[in-house]
């Protein structure tokens, strides 16, 4: 009886060992919420050359640094109509994450900042609570010069925090989903 018991256990274990030697490869995962691309298109309201700011990081959390490009210089004291496009370019066709952000607009807000007073921004859109989102915005350039222009996307910010709805990130809290810095020149 005991012998049988032992044999049964051993056979069972042997079967487990042999059963698990399949050679199926695991399924590849392409990160779903990955943001690879931030593209800001800025069109001068009174005509002229538009400017595109773009940051592309195809390996996501991988070690490669984002590739940042600025299509040209801004004109001084000019108002631009800005539009943001957030994409996942590792998928074909590219996944438009802007739409997801707009679906949950109460939980997202873009913030813009610049150094050397080269530009100021205002929001052109609102979520259902009347708070800004920032996918659409206006940018007014200052006098000629150069500086850094930063676009930040916060997830679950405190939109009712002090000055948050005018675009001040200081009291926004939440988590950063996007943060890209563009070196721009105003002529």
């Amino acid at each position: 009886m005991k012998q049988i018991k032992k044999i049964v256990i051993l056979v069972y274990i042997a079967s487990i060992f042999s059963a698990c030697t399949d050679n199926d490869n695991p399924i590849v995962i392409n990160e779903e919420e990955l943001i690879t691309t931030v593209r800001a298109t800025l069109v001068p309201q009174n005509g002229g050359a538009s400017v595109t700011l773009e940051s592309i990081d195809l390996d996501g959390d991988g070690p490669n640094e984002p590739v940042i490009s600025v299509s040209g210089d801004f004109s001084q004291n000019t108002t631009y109509t800005g539009n943001l496009l957030i994409l996942n370019d590792t998928e074909t066709p590219a996944d438009n994450i802007t739409l997801e952000i707009l679906e949950e607009d109460e939980e997202h807000q873009f913030f813009f900042s610049s150094t050397n007073n080269i530009a100021t921004t205002t929001y052109n859109d609102q979520d259902s609570n009347g708070n800004p989102i920032g996918v659409e915005f206006s940018l007014l350039t200052g006098n000629s010069g150069y500086g850094a222009f930063t676009i930040t996307l916060r997830h679950e910010p405190n939109k009712s925090g002090m000055n948050v709805n005018t675009g001040d990130i200081t009291n926004a809290g939440g988590e950063t989903d996007v943060q890209v810095i563009f070196d721009i020149t105003v002529n």
Partner: protein, 800 residues
Amino acid sequence: MTLKLFLCTLFCCAAFTSYTQKCAYTFKGTITDYHDGTSLFGATVYLKKLNKYTISDDQGKFEFKNLCKGEIHVFISHISCESKELKINILEDTSKEFNLEHHTEELKEVTITSALELKTKTRQSTVLKSDVIDTYSSQNLGDVLKSISGVSSINTGNTIVKPMINGLHSSRVVLMTNGVRLQDQDWGIEHAPNIDINTAEKITVIKGANALEFGGDAIGGVIVLEPNRIIVKDSLYGKSIVSGQTNGQGFSFHSSLTKSTKKGWYINAKTTVKKYGDFESPDYILTNTGLNSSAYSLQTGLKKFETGFNFYYTYLKNEIGILRSSHLGNIEDLVDAINSDRPFVIEDFSYAINEPKQEVTHQLIKVDFYKRFKNLGKLKVQYDYQNNERFEFDLRVGDDRNKPAIDLTLNSHTVKTSFEFDSKSNQTYKVGLMGGYQNNFANPNTGVRRLIPDYDKYDLGAFAIGNFLFNDKTSLDFGVRYDFNYINAKKFYLKSRWNERNYDADFSNLIIVDFNTQWLVNPKLKYHNFSASAGVSHQLNEVNSLILNYALSNRAPNASELFSDGLHHSAARIELGDLRINQETSNRVSTSYNFKRDKTALLVELFFNHIRNYIFIEPNGTEQTIRGAFPVWAYKATTANLFGIDITWQQKITNRIHFKNKTSFMRGKDVDNNRDLIDIPAAKTVNNIGYSNKKWGNFNANLESNFVFRQNLFPDNNFEAFIPTTNSNVLVDVSSTPNRYHLINFNSDATFKLSQKTEVTIGITVTNILNTNYREYLNRLRYFADDLGRNYLVQLKFKY
């Protein structure tokens, strides 16, 4: 008992009068020890119906004359033996041999008990008994173990608590529960052991790798949890513990019931349920730190002296909330968090557990069988299967909102067998074999690249240990063990990561499929591990004794150390393993000095642990992504020296007042780089003054002062990062350690008999009485929030 015997005797006397047959038979016998075959002198042999007594002589022999034909009831007993009862039919002159289990106590208390035991005399081990464990019924394994000098914990908040022995944790600490080595993804700091402490009646901590039968890779030590011993008699007993506490506004309930029979059959069922809401620091609510836990276990079997079997099943499910404010976006959020005194998210108290959170389910099935062979020893065969399912939920957007970010299933099968040669009382040997198979499956439905890949792991091990008792004063043990580990993994690497790590040069032959931006790679890793241990203990005189230990152990790197690769949102860091990491080799020397006199007990334990290829994780620069910059935490290997001292001192001041001190101090040095190691526990001293009075319902009251020094010896891994919002470069201080802290705790309990067999113990505990604000170096959430504030806990324990 005596009453029973007396009644029995009376009854027998009454029955005896009716016998009138021919009565001239002789019944002779020899009584020997089961294990070594030696004769037992002084065993009482009692013929029940006849009410006849005799005692065995120095050769274990006895004789009854003038017996009548018919059945007799023989009852044999001996001091410190299990009594034996049997029926014999007398048809002629009869001669028989009887085996008694001579040292029952010693055998049942395998591996542990006090320092008086042969088997553990040579190790640095400490035992926690059920009265201590019951006090911690509502808490974690890691919490109860901290009451041992030299044992600390590494935490993620206050509900994810990993035990740390002399500065070592995770895969370096082997956890044995009811004879089974726990296989539950123990690699990560935020992976707490999946054990309900209420399943244990006794917990033993063995420092260092000197318990080779449990594994050769226990560089830190072994924690052995054992369930209650089954008493072989007809009985039904149990206990229930109910605790309620103010911090977390939660409760814990535990109940267990055991039914056993004289024939050795038993069944035991246990359940534990815990529910806590958000815990509180002195100044604010720690939002999203609740816990839901439920555990069930069932054990049944047959326990006889010569043979028996056990079946064991446990189920444990934990749903653990992780501090909301610890979930970060990028390095800027981390800098803000470090610089802020308060967490960013503080909401009203709630029982809700939202993301970030963990849901872990662990199931274990064990079957074992044993048989004793006369004059030889005991054979054991065991099989166990464990299933560990782990979900980690991050804050996600859109359709992925309710999807886990980590979804791992770990299945482990282990079969092992051992033979213990215990027939000689001055030397015992044990040999054993084990084989294990483990499969890790990372569910691709998460939509997040796997942090830990799919893998198969095979283990084979063999060991031999021996214990020798030279004389009353000196004993010696030695052990050798060999383990073979084979890991066959299939892992995706981003091509950019593969190149950045320079894997192309060494591992390009491992690539099996090209997936555009990723490689599928098939590492097959083999490790041969050799371990050895030796220990000697010597009783210098009545009050002084010494233990000296040496252990060589090897540990193969775990899946996390090899393969980690990705962004850990709950920590805002990129964690990277390294395929090139080799196994760790530890040489540990330790010594204990024990002083015991009527009122004083002092134990001083020293250790020195030299670890070649010591694997650890620490900050290693930053990487820029579209979300901003992230700190990179990389696994590395170095040569490490760890050394320290643990002191336990107990002093009786009067018969009712006692004082206890537990102090531990250790250091960890990175020898290769001549600097301090990260995550080494700070020096700590715990002083306790207690009053107990047996006359007042076993009343106890203890006032405890818990002083933790600041860890001044830490590596400087700070780095600079550019913060766009403020347009400045700032120093990211991830290294600085929190200030020293001092906590005062109070605990009191009393026990009252409700009836002959039932009693109730009422306990009151207050922790952090002064509501001190503090942060602990070894709590990963120390950047974000203070630790727990004052807590009142009331506990009722019923035994029946």
